[in-house]
């Protein structure tokens, strides 16, 4: 009697018992599978995340060509009175560099130069001399190498002979002027090497060249051809 009761309770009608058992077993298996292996359930959803993240910033990199000119301005006076060879100085980008309609180097970006030689002014009207080279410009988190140099010579010292003529022996102590890169002076530099940049709004990153890009000029520009 109890046996029949339990059978009816568990499996319902005798005639449909086998089918119901199969349904229960299938239900239990499904539930236990999803509970016991949640990682598997998640892993099926995971591939959609990188797919969506790669689609959003579909920005083509911009090629900043070698030898592209860049106008810089000295922000502070650099004088042979207080610099020696090896001294670094700051510059400011004076005009934006625009490639393919995108500003890759904005106005105000910081560039750096380095004094390569500095001779202080001396007695008898000897004026100072200075040479400096451009190092790099910082745009976003990319540092782009520059080429170009600048030289300066002290001016307006006058002749020592005339100084002696007017001031007598004191003219021997007449010092020349220091060589200076004056604040506000415009320097022109050039991009030293080809640089691929990712430009998203005002954010600039250095990137690698796209795989499918054919740039025949990149190699030809740097090729050295004998002078005719």
């Amino acid at each position: 009697m109890y046996e029949n009761y339990f059978r009816t309770y568990l499996f319902g009608d005798h005639t449909l018992g086998g089918e119901v058992v199969l349904r229960y077993v299938a239900l239990l298996l499904t539930a236990s599978f999803s509970w016991a292996s949640p990682t598997f359930a998640q892993s099926s959803a995971e591939p959609t995340l990188p797919a969506s993240s790669t689609v959003t910033p579909s920005v083509l990199p911009v090629l900043l060509r070698q030898d592209t000119p860049i106008e810089l301005m000295a922000t502070k006076e650099v004088s042979t009175a207080d610099v020696t060879a090896g001294t670094r100085f700051k510059l400011r980008v004076n005009k934006p560099v625009v490639m393919d309609g995108k500003t890759v180097i904005p106005v105000g970006a910081v560039a750096y130069g380095e004094v390569t030689d500095a001779i202080d002014s001396g007695g008898l009207g000897k004026s100072g001399r200075m040479t400096a080279k451009l190092l790099y410009v910082q745009t976003g988190d990319a540092q782009i190498l520059l080429s170009g140099d600048v030289s300066a010579k002290g001016t307006g010292a006058g002749s020592a002979g005339l100084a002696i003529l007017f001031t007598g022996w004191a003219g021997f102590f007449h010092r020349g002027n220091n060589a200076k890169i004056k604040a506000g002076e415009i320097l022109t530099g050039f991009i030293a090497d080809d640089a691929w940049l990712d430009v998203v709004g005002t954010i600039v990153h250095r990137t690698v060249a796209p795989a499918n890009t054919s740039e025949p000029n990149v190699t030809l520009v740097s090729a050295v051809v004998p002078a005719q």
Partner: protein, 166 residues
């Protein structure tokens, strides 16, 4: 066998034709090529200072292997590399300009060269004038419009030929 020969000959001919077509559209402007320039406006040590950007123009067409790559009258950017204003005691003005580059589309032809002008006054005149009038100043250096400046290509560059109509 004859078919293979025909295909091989066709491939060689077509490759040669494409290479020939490529040579016609672009040309490499070699390093050291002389490019004559002229100043686009008058310059003076009175009004121009070191660092000033100055305008120049190409004086004639630049040709490579018979093809024009830079037209006469193209804009050239130069810079005042040294400037000294005239001063007391007969100190003369000095002005030095150097050509920097020619911009052709997205290509840049880098140039080197120099042109300088120094106002000259006889030394005897200086001593005489200084003794008579201590406030005597020298002359300003001037570079008139159309002054010839010789420049040289600093780095070889491939340029499109502009005399070919596509």
């Amino acid at each position: 066998m004859s078919m293979m020969r025909y295909i091989l000959a066709w491939a060689i001919v077509s490759l040669g034709a494409s290479a020939q077509a490529g040579e016609k559209t672009t040309a490499v402007l070699p390093m050291g090529t002389e490019i004559p320039l002229v100043t686009a406006g008058p310059l003076s040590s009175k009004t121009n200072f070191k660092g000033d950007i100055v305008a120049l123009k190409t004086a004639k067409d630049v040709r490579v292997e018979g093809h024009v790559v830079i037209l006469s009258g193209s804009d050239v950017v130069g810079q005042v590399s040294d400037a000294r204003a005239k001063g007391a005691m007969g100190m003369t003005g000095k002005l030095v300009i150097r050509p920097l580059f020619i911009r052709l589309g997205d290509r840049t032809v880098r140039l080197s060269g120099v042109a300088q002008q120094k106002a000259s006054v006889d030394s005897g005149a200086i001593v005489g004038m200084v003794l008579l009038t201590p406030g005597f100043t020298g002359r300003s250096a001037t570079i008139p419009q159309g002054t010839r400046v010789v420049s040289y290509v600093e780095r070889a560059i491939e340029l499109p030929c502009v005399d070919i109509v596509h």
